[in-house]
Each structure stands twice: as structure tokens, then as C-alpha cells.
């Protein structure tokens, strides 16, 4: 006879504990969800996690996801013969880096990585000359279609060759978003056109602050 009340008390306690845990979880979830709109364009929760890829850097050495680990990266795809969007966006990214030079993790030790989708014309040497014209610390990388696919498929990036008047006179259509990758390889945003230095600076700052706050 004395067993029954004890068991029911235990059950009641368990039920209460479960309810409290559930309520706390819900509150936390709502609180986190509620914070999301503060950072426009943030891929959260569950940002894509960058996995393995293997390109060739502008120094001729392999460039893999390991080169992105431990620092913030702004990643942009294009080609050096691109007259409008690519040089414009790289000049914008140069300004972003200058604006954030001292007061952010991206500015202090982050990197801008320009991935060429035109390996036939963009040798590592050509890429190095091109990206370092914008900023000596910008990095370039490329690879054959298979190597590029190792990265592009993870980001939903597409590109296509568009024939021109001659064999060497072609253009490339390409995804023109700037991908914001954090030091643990989470892809936290894809910033589309138009690219404006003040806007991108504000977004990257907000994303950095959000991640810092999440820890």
C-alpha cells in the first residue's frame, strides 16, 4: 500500500521536470528565433558546413578547406577577363577590408578569396597578379571543372562558358554572391548584387557579432 503514493509522487516529479525542460527548450528556441531578424541574410539556424575541396592557389600550391579554417573568409567567384562585376566587387571588398581593418576579426586576420571559374585563361600566376592588384593580401584559387565542382556544389554556385567572336574571346556567366564563411567553415551568408561597401561591412559586422554572441 505505501508503494503507490511514492510511485505517483515520482511520476509527478518526472512529469514536472519534463515540462520544465520542455518549456525551457521552447523558450530558448523562441528566444533564438526571435533574434534572427537582427542580421539580414543570415543563414541560421543550420548554416551549410563547408566540407572538403581541393583547388590550386595563386601561389601554385594546393588550396583546400583547411586554408579557410581559423579565420573569416569572404569568398567570391568570377574570372579575370570579367570587365564589370568582378573588378567592381573586388574593389568593393578592398574597401570593406579597409573599413574593418582594426575592429573586427575579418579585418584583422580574415581573407578575401577569389575563385576563378575560368581555369583555361586564369593560371595561378595570372590570378596572383590580378587579385594582388586589388589588395596584396587577397588570395586567388582555381582548378579544373572537377576541382571547382568540389566547392561550387557545396555552395550552389553555377557557371557557364559563353562563346564570343574568337576561340580565346569568350565570357563566363557565373554566380556573383559573396559567401561569408566563418572560422569553423560555416557558410553564414550569401550576399547578392548590388555590392556596396557600406552594406557589406554592416552585414559582416552583424554576422560576426551574432556568432560571437552565440558561443
Amino acid at each position: 500500500m505505501p508503494i503507490a503514493p511514492t510511485r505517483s509522487r515520482t511520476n509527478a516529479f518526472l512529469a514536472l521536470a519534463a515540462f520544465v525542460a520542455l518549456a525551457a527548450g521552447l523558450l530558448l528556441a523562441v528566444w533564438k528565433l526571435g533574434r534572427q531578424p537582427e542580421v539580414p541574410g543570415l543563414l541560421w539556424p543550420d548554416p551549410p558546413q563547408l566540407g572538403h575541396f581541393a583547388l590550386t592557389g595563386d601561389d601554385g600550391e594546393p588550396l583546400t578547406e583547411a586554408d579557410l579554417r581559423g579565420r573569416w573568409t569572404l569568398l567570391f567567384f568570377g574570372f579575370t577577363h570579367c570587365p564589370d562585376v568582378c573588378p567592381s566587387t573586388l574593389a568593393v571588398l578592398k574597401q570593406v577590408k579597409q573599413r574593418m581593418a582594426t575592429d573586427s576579426a575579418f579585418g584583422r586576420e580574415g581573407q578575401v578569396l577569389f575563385v576563378s571559374v575560368d581555369p583555361a585563361r586564369d593560371t595561378p600566376e595570372a590570378l596572383a597578379r590580378y587579385v594582388k592588384y586589388f589588395d596584396p593580401r587577397f588570395r586567388g584559387a582555381t582548378g579544373d571543372d572537377d576541382a571547382l565542382y568540389g566547392l561550387t556544389r557545396q555552395l550552389g554556385v553555377i557557371y557557364a562558358k559563353v562563346p564570343g567572336s574568337g576561340e580565346n574571346d569568350y565570357s563566363m556567366d557565373h554566380t556573383a554572391s559573396i559567401f561569408v564563411v566563418d572560422p569553423s567553415l560555416r557558410v553564414l551568408s550569401a550576399i547578392g548584387l548590388p555590392h556596396d561597401a557600406a552594406d557589406i561591412t554592416a552585414r559582416v559586422r552583424a554576422i560576426e557579432a551574432f556568432v560571437e554572441d552565440e558561443r
Partner: protein, 145 residues
Amino acid sequence: MRLALRRFAFLYVVAAGSAASACDGLAITDAWIREPPPGANAVAAYMTLANHGDETLVLDALTSPGFAHGMLHETVAQDGRVRMRHVPRLSLAPGERVQLAPGALHGMLMQPTAALPRAGEHVELVLGCSGKSTRVMAIVARDAP
């Protein structure tokens, strides 16, 4: 070539607009060309075009003596992907203004035949109207987004 362009830049202003031409009424302001990064074989030109005349203007050519080819282009962004579209003709109604700007409509000069301009230098740009007349001007190269 570059030196010559710099030295005689003022001449283009004098040469601008032949008498009673199809380009009459065309006003071009804030024209610049992007300083080409190393290795570039195509350079974009930007400007504001306005039609101050009473007739519709039709721009159908954009070239430069320092380049084998030139044309009007438009960067079209769709689903985050950009592509370039050749614009064979650009019509400006009386009073209309059109901006040629990064990421939008722009002039594209391809296959340089002379040394590429550095920031601060000028190149000659030739705009053609209705296949009949041209407007010639010197536009400055800039290191800008």
C-alpha cells in the same frame, strides 16, 4: 599612344559633335573607364547619358581606338547569377536620362591594341548615333568600385 592621348585630350572636346548630327542633343556626364586590372582584356566604361534634344536618340556604337572591339553591354543578374547581354541599340527619348553603371548597363571595350590606361590617364571613346554620326570624347581611367 597613352602619351598622345594625354597630351591631346583637349582636342577631343573640340572635335566633339560634328555639325547637325544624329548625336545632337546627347549630353554625356561623369564618364569614366575602370582602370584595367593586370591581365584584363576587357574594360568597362560608365557614364550618364541624357537626351537634351527634341528627337529620340539611338546609340548604336561604342568604340575606342585603343581596342579592337567595343559595344554596349548590360550585366543582368538573375537568381544570383550574372550574365552579359549585348545591347545593339539604346534609345533615349527626349528628356530621358540613362545611367551606365557597374553591375548594370555599361560600355565594354575588348581586345586592347595599345597600352591599357592607368588611373588618371584618358582614353578616347567614340559613341555612334543611328549609324550616321559620332561623338568623340576623352574619358578618364579610375581605380574605383
